[in-house]
């Protein structure tokens, strides 16, 4: 635990100066706040931009930041230094993961609050986002573990993020895409956000979400078994 805490503190200092990662946490909250306040079309559903960009946020920020952090530490040899200091892979991933979740949640909290969400609806939104972030964090960690360096991480990260974030968007206008999109957790979160707290969750949705979570976890475990953190 002491080790995870040390990693978390390191990450807090580091990200302040790491623009590439920092921008991932700030970009979507900022776009959401600007768009919600600037563009207001009549009859637009409530929190239209917030819901749309929240899904993109949870499909992008945790994946790119987690994989960027881990792959950079591999490339620069800092991860090796940690492993030689007897930091266990679990402590390391816990430290970085908790940090990442906290940063994303802070962004989600701010953007939803500023967009005027509150009460029960707000808590529901935050709970959904937390679960979505967690799935994405595991996916990002899997990519970071698999990739030998930052370049390799980017080439895995970008397609994953594009599929997860753009499918729900395109699915709104294209039925064929929508049929595929529904099998991805991001689309399911989009539906859940749109249906709101009083909407019913279908069994199909639940199964799809559970499958997504299990697959992502499986990919992470496979990646970890194959590469580990301290092997070349």
């Amino acid at each position: 635990m002491r080790e995870a805490k040390a990693i978390l503190q390191k990450q807090m200092i580091d990200t302040r100066k790491n623009r590439a990662v920092l921008i991932q946490f700030i970009l979507f909250p900022l776009i959401t706040i600007v768009m919600s306040n600037a563009v207001n079309i009549q009859d637009m559903p409530e929190h239209f931009y917030l819901k749309l960009f929240s899904v993109m946020y949870l499909a992008m920020a945790p994946i790119s930041s987690m994989s960027a952090i881990i792959s950079e530490e591999k490339e620069k040899g800092t991860l090796r230094a940690l492993m030689m200091s007897n930091v266990s892979p679990v402590s390391y991933l816990l430290g970085v993961g908790i940090y990442d979740l906290a940063a994303c949640m802070l962004g989600a909290t701010l953007m939803s609050r500023i967009c005027g969400m509150n009460g029960e609806e707000w808590r529901y939104y935050l709970a959904l986002m937390a679960i979505g972030f967690l799935i994405s964090i595991f996916l990002g960690a899997a990519i970071g573990v698999l990739a030998k360096n930052q370049m390799a991480a980017t080439s895995l990260q970008v397609p994953a993020m594009c599929i997860l974030s753009f499918l729900p968007m395109i699915g709104q206008f294209n039925d064929t895409v929508a049929k595929v999109a529904k099998y991805f957790y991001t689309e399911q979160f989009y539906q859940l956000l749109n249906n709101g707290i009083h909407g019913k969750m279908s069994t199909e949705s639940m199964v799809i979400l559970a499958c997504n979570a299990i697959i992502v976890l499986g990919v992470f475990i496979l990646a970890y078994k194959k590469r580990g953190l301290n092997r070349e």
Binding site: R2, E3, A6, A81, L82
Partner: protein
């Protein structure tokens, strides 16, 4: 104590360490001297549990290096090029990550930074450090957690003589404090001045070992007298047999320009043993 018995390690079909046996005693500075590619870094990796090996035994302070526990590893301080620094963090913050992990008091950070003469730069971002400063920070990181065994892979390579001298002083102080020091180098002057015990490594095999003095004495037959004549000719004369007569002759002819005696040093010893030079 570090004990290695008949250790071999290959990468693929290439044998990188071949039947290594040696003992490092407590409280000594042990030097592994060898040219590039000899297997020095590989041996440190093996001893610190970073690399598996095929055969033989190795233990550090009684612990088998194949099954080092977390507590064993926390006794080590390791300085190697591929253990990176956090470039966006300051020198102080870099060390703090490790004192936090080890549960060591932060007071140690200031002391160690002063020891490696980085106290003025404690709050500077590491990305703005020079090569020598980074090298000193790597050393500081190895020292800050109060290790009992220090593994230093070429601790002074590429540094100016003054900085190298300062690092030698720090290493000696740690020895006085009871630390075991295992270092590698391909600088024979460093090996000669700093180490209590030396092992000469070439292509994965130990070719000689002993204190620097012992080694030079053992190769006493390399003692020579070199004379230069007025026509610019150089002659190497062995100490035994014929040197006196030859010098007398040249002197009588009035052709003697210079006369020097040559003692064996680690470089010439290495040369005799392997037919190659230590430094390319």
């Amino acid at each position: 104590m570090i004990e290695v018995t008949n250790l071999s390690k290959s990468f693929g079909t290439k044998k990188v360490l071949d039947g290594i046996s040696m003992t490092v005693r407590d409280g000594e500075i042990f030097g592994l001297l060898g040219p590039s590619g000899a297997g020095k870094t590989t041996l440190i990796r093996v001893l610190t549990g970073q690399l598996k090996f095929e055969s033989g035994e190795a233990s550090v302070m009684g612990a088998d290096v194949r099954k080092l526990s977390g507590e064993d590893k926390k006794q080590f301080g390791i300085m190697m090029d591929d253990l990176g620094l956090y470039e966006r963090l300051t020198a102080y913050q870099n060390l703090k990550v490790f004192t936090d992990i080890y549960g060591v008091s932060v007071d140690a950070i200031g002391k160690v930074l002063a020891e490696v003469k980085l106290d003025q730069d404690a709050k500077k971002e590491v990305s703005k450090f020079s090569k020598g400063m980074k090298e000193r920070l790597r050393l500081a990181r190895a020292l800050v957690t109060h290790p009992k065994v220090l593994f230093l892979d070429e601790p002074t390579s590429g540094l100016d003589p003054q900085t190298a001298k300062e690092i030698h002083e720090i290493i000696r102080n740690r020895k006085e404090a009871g630390c075991i020091i295992f270092l590698t180098t391909h600088n024979m002057t460093e090996a000669e001045k700093l180490c209590d015990h030396l092992v000469l490594l070439n292509e994965g095999k130990i070719v000689e070992s002993g204190s620097p003095r012992e080694l030079c004495l053992r190769y006493d037959h390399q003692k020579r007298i070199e004379i230069t004549t007025t026509d610019g000719e150089k002659e190497q004369l062995p100490f035994a047999g014929g040197a006196v007569e030859r010098i007398e002759q040249v002197l009588k002819e009035g052709r003697l320009l210079t006369i020097h005696s040559q003692e064996p040093n680690l470089e010439t010893v290495f040369m005799e043993l392997t037919g190659r030079k230590l430094e390319a």
